[in-house]
């Protein structure tokens, strides 16, 4: 089975949030980056499928040079090779634009499965995988927890709302967007880290991929810190003082104790 996993590098969850000079994103100075959470699960699913059925796992990522580090980490965990769509200017593309780049980068790969995380922890658009399927003319299923090989394709476990699930069968090649949480993520071994250094990373630029970049139809104009309309009563003091104050509130105002 040949599996492509599209992964994204995103700011660490507890990154400090300061708005940049242009007012269109956060200041990335001093920000640490990491692999997007649901993408890590997509990679894990791919590696498990390969262990079970053989084949190849190719990671695909778009972004500036620093993304190379996240790609190496994926290679160290066991991916075989990588495609890096290198661009310092991905913010100029909307979701369709990014998906077009990814589609162009993999269209000749003849993969059986393309996996992505279900949404990024930074922009949270939750669309790239689904758009990619449409652009490549492939069937897809989203919010997937588990993948099993089935005749002519795959049988997947899809999460529904409120604790419900369903199985979906679909023919391959197909695109699946993976939800976090189904399996335990692996760590890279020392051996894996060593091997990753020699694995192939093919770098391509948007220009090489798309003859004519198309104008974005949706633009992010500016970002703002949420304006606080909270009515929260913050209980201050030492932990013991705050705790005592909270118990008072719960007893005499909420009447819950």
């Amino acid at each position: 089975m040949k599996i492509i996993v599209a992964i994204k590098q995103v700011p660490e969850r507890d990154a400090r949030i300061r708005i940049d000079a242009e007012g269109t994103w956060i200041d990335l100075q001093d920000v640490e980056f990491t692999l997007n959470e649901s993408d890590a699960y997509a990679l894990e699913e791919a590696l498990q499928l390969k262990e079970e059925h053989g084949g190849e796992v190719v990671v695909l990522s778009a972004g500036p040079e620093r993304v190379g580090k996240t790609i190496r980490e994926a290679l160290a965990k066991g991916a075989d090779r990588a495609i890096h769509v290198e661009s310092d200017d991905l913010a100029a593309y909307d979701a369709l634009g990014v998906a077009r780049l990814l589609a162009a980068a993999v269209k000749d790969e003849q993969a059986d499965l393309i996996l992505t995380g279900l949404q990024s922890d930074d922009l949270g658009l939750g669309q790239t995988g689904v758009i990619l399927a449409e652009l490549l003319g492939l069937p897809h299923a989203s919010l997937i927890l588990k993948i099993e090989a089935a005749e002519g394709g795959v049988k997947v476990l899809r999460e529904l709302e409120d604790g419900w699930f369903q199985h979906v069968e679909l023919p391959t090649p197909a695109v699946l967007t993976i939800q976090s949480g189904n399996s335990k993520l692996r760590y890279a071994t020392l051996m894996g880290i060593k091997k990753a250094k020699t694995k192939e990373v093919r770098r391509v630029t948007p220009l090489e991929l798309a003859a004519e970049p198309e104008a974005s139809v949706v633009v992010l104009e500016r970002v703002l810190l949420p304006n606080k309309q909270r009515t929260t009563q913050i209980l201050g003091g030492s932990p013991a003082e705050a705790a005592a104050a909270l118990v008072e509130k719960l007893r005499f105002e909420v009447r819950a104790l």
Binding site: P11, D14, I17, I19, I26, A95, L96, L123, G124, G126, Q127, V130, I131, E134, L135, P139, A141, S142, L143, E159, E161, D162, G163, W164, F165, Q166, H167, V168, E169, L170, S180, G181, V217, V218, L220, E221, R222, V223, L224, L225, P226, Q229, R230, T231, T232, Q233, I234, L235, P239, A240, A242, A243, A244, L246, V247, L250, R251, V254, A256, L257
Partner: protein, 334 residues
């Protein structure tokens, strides 16, 4: 796209034989948009036109209510829905297409928008219309970084603008009878073009705890760091006579069973007191607990979005605050 447009087309969803609450909220968002731009609102729903549910479509007069009816739509597939919706959109030719941001919409709406060379503006929490609205397009607000940042988006160019509306962001319109025309829309669908085969929905496991009946919930999030630290929240729960609940990552890690997960993919709860401990307050968590009578947040990050919904907050390290709280509760209970 032709320049003749009809306005706003809202797609509703049925859940448990009723039009879902989030669908009404999407309708409210559509009205906000329509009023700002002097547009009309049409509504569409996949169902046979004989379904009595159509009589429940209230709100400020939508012009036409389309019953999208076809045997191949009886169970949801992305291929079937995207094809059917695309045909209706071509016929109605709206300026805006509005969806509730549900799992189903997430599954097919990005495809559908792509067919129109558009991009879905997903999970919208606010719409600002501007004076001189005919020329100035509206601003759409959505959250980034799991609620820590807001972004303003704008749609450019011609062609319909696709939006999905976040749960709870708009207040569902109060019932107000409006004249509507029911129109049946029968899409042309080909069974051979539906590539996925969906199975029956099922629930994971028998429920052994009923979070819904607990009057106090102590809910723990990733701030707890390790499974080995869980006893400190368990002790607080015991002291309070509360049930233990959790955010998704805690259940994903297998530290607590999934039946204790609160949020859009878990339980929806509304206890008398909900204590969120080391939980950031992502929207998928908030939708499951924001109906609680009293919300208490304990978090070391004063900017954590959970404080936006909390009644009481303690900004601090849970490893100091929670044991102190347990001690204070035990003392108060004597």
């Amino acid at each position: 796209m032709s320049e003749l447009t009809s306005g706003v087309l809202v797609f509703l969803e049925i859940k448990n034989r009723e039009i879902s609450r989030i669908s009404w909220e999407a309708m409210a968002a559509a009205h906000t948009l329509a009023e700002g731009h002097g547009l009309s609102v049409d509504v569409a729903l996949v169902s046979s036109p004989g379904n009595p549910i159509f009589e429940t479509i209230h709100g400020k007069a939508p012009r036409t209510v389309y019953a999208i009816d076809h045997p191949l739509l009886h169970e949801y597939t992305a291929d079937g829905f995207a094809a059917a919706y695309a045909q209706l959109i071509e016929q109605v030719n709206p300026s805006y297409v509005v969806f509730p941001h549900t799992y189903q919409v997430r599954d097919f709406a990005p495809c559908l928008a792509t067919r129109f060379k558009q991009v879905l503006i997903s999970d919208v929490t606010g719409i600002e219309t501007h004076a001189g609205a005919e020329t100035a397009p509206p601003t759409f607000i959505r959250q980034l970084l799991q609620g820590k940042l807001n972004a303003h988006y704008r749609h450019r160019g011609t062609g319909p603008c696709f939006l999905s509306i976040q749960a709870g962001a708009f207040r569902a319109d109060a019932a107000e009878a409006g004249a509507t025309t029911l129109a049946t829309f029968e899409p042309r669908l080909d069974a051979a073009k539906i590539r996925t085969k969906p199975g029956e929905p099922f629930r994971a496991s028998a429920q052994t705890v009923d979070l819904g009946s607990a009057s106090i919930l102590v809910s723990v999030g990733r701030g707890i760091k390790e499974e080995a630290n869980l006893p400190i929240v368990q002790e607080l729960a015991t002291a309070l006579g509360a049930e233990l609940a959790a955010s998704r990552p805690i259940c994903d890690s297998g530290w607590l069973p999934m039946e204790r997960q609160v949020g859009s993919s878990g339980q929806t709860v509304a206890p008398k007191v909900y204590l969120a401990i080391g939980i950031s307050g992502a929207i998928q968590h908030l939708v499951g607990m924001k109906g609680s009578q009293c919300i208490v947040a304990i978090n070391k990050d004063e900017n954590a979005p959970i404080f936006e919904v909390a009644d009481y907050g303690i900004v601090g390290d849970l490893f100091d605050v929670v044991p102190a709280l347990t001690a204070a509760v035990l003392k108060a209970k004597g």
